[in-house]
Amino acid sequence: MSRATQANLMAAQIAEAVKGRDRVQVMEVCGTHTVSIFRNGIRSLLPRNVRLISGPGCPVCVTAQRHIDAAIELASREGLVVATYGDMIRVPGRLGSLETLRARGADIRVVNSARTALQLAQRNANRQVVFLAVGFETTAPATAATILEAEQLGIENFSVLASHKLVVPAMTALLDDGDVPLDGFLCPGHVSVIIGVRAYDPIATRYGKACVIAGFEPQAILVGLLRLLQLVGQGRAAVENAYAGVVREDGNPAARRLMERVFVTCDAPWRALGVIPASGLALAPAYERFDAAKRFDIEIGEDRDPPGCRCGEVIQGKVEPRECGLFGSDCTPVHPVGPCMVSSEGTCAAWFKYHWPTAQRGGRA
């Protein structure tokens, strides 16, 4: 059977699963899923009564402006090197982005690993290196291991600006908010590698919502969606793993142990979503000396989001990007106003890339 036939067959099964339901709304939490869904035209395969909402699963999009501003303040200090994952340098803060600062001579390095930032510190013993620690549970254990390595090697000129986020508290915050009724979640594949299948149990037991963990391949996403919509259709709040072999029931306990040693959970600000209780990671007291904000006495201020940007509503599924007055005119991937347009995994960027002509005509996505 060709892949297209297979996809159409699954589409028919999906339609069958939710037949007779007025409207079913499920959220794909992960930005990588969002991109794969758009890229492969998966939305067009879904029946009209199913709405897919792209959730807050792009780490760049949810990094609070106050953390970008703190990073910019750090990078402005004499003798300080800021090391960051690539996408972050384009996110606009209150006074420009790291990229604009770099053009003016600040020492900002793009790295693809926390370890590279640590190596940078080793090679530049007379300078302070600050790593911008962003990302979900996929990335947080790597930061934790790097901090432990810095401690063991006695490296004094390395610190991190900690703004790691936790996925499940964001999901429950959306459910608590209740503005957008959700029937279930397509859960991220590689975050789940760390946190495990059982991490989603509270969403099923306490909130009565179905969760299915899926891989990234288009076929895998369709299988995940089919299982999810079957559960929704049957009214079953269960957690299922459609990415077995990669994601384990208990995730990666060794990684979680490192994370729990170095970090403690804290209330954390999410871009345009406000502060979500116990949704972020701060350095544990024993590792506070690696906290760049403390080491350099940086005050983490407030967010003042760009006027007109509706990123917060976009990542909660309250509006679609085309409903933002800036979408495609003032805000484009080349000149992003909000973080959802910066990252290639951002919802606005995905819409712009795959739906701009459609969106302009007000068509259905």
């Binding site: 892949r3 297209a4 297979q6 996809a7 159409n8 589409a11 992960c30 990588t32 991109v35 794969s36 890229r39 492969n40 035209g41 998966i42 067009s44 699963g57 792009c58 994952y85 996408d87 693809n112 690993s113 370890r115 590279t116 979900f136 996929t138 990335t139 254990p141 790597a142 291991a145 790097t146 432990l148 390595e149 063991q152 090697l153 991220p188 594949g189 590689h190 975050v191 590698v193 760390i194 990234f216 391949e217 288009p218 076929q219 369709l222 072999g245 990669v246 384990r248 990666n252 060794a254 990684a255 490192l258 990252s343 995994e345 795959y354 739906h355 002509p357 459609t358 005509r361 068509g363």
Partner: protein, 89 residues
């Protein structure tokens, strides 16, 4: 950003420090140094899932190949990728 890629462990270097164990991992022909701090069980010949310079899980070869299939398609030019028809206006 949370996408991890599979690779095969070619060699492992021991370390004094608890989190310092590293490996050379083959990523479709590219050899990269990777930390094994999060996968203490990983050894030579294992397939691992790599993210931001760290092996985050040991997986079997079949799953590794499946993920690469997705990655290769995702990185290929637009026209050759879709599993289904593209969205129509």
């Amino acid at each position: 950003m949370c996408l991890a890629v599979p690779g095969k462990v070619i060699s492992v270097s021991a370390s004094e420090s608890e989190t310092g164990r590293t490996a050379v991992v083959d990523l479709q022909g590219n050899r990269v140094e990777t930390s094994l701090a999060l996968t203490p069980e990983a050894g030579e010949g294992d397939w691992v899932l790599m993210h931001a310079g760290f092996a985050i899980e040991v997986i079997d070869e079949d799953h590794a190949r499946e993920i690469w299939q997705y990655l290769n398609e995702a990185m290929a030019p637009e026209s050759s990728a879709p599993a289904a028809q593209q969205d129509q206006p």
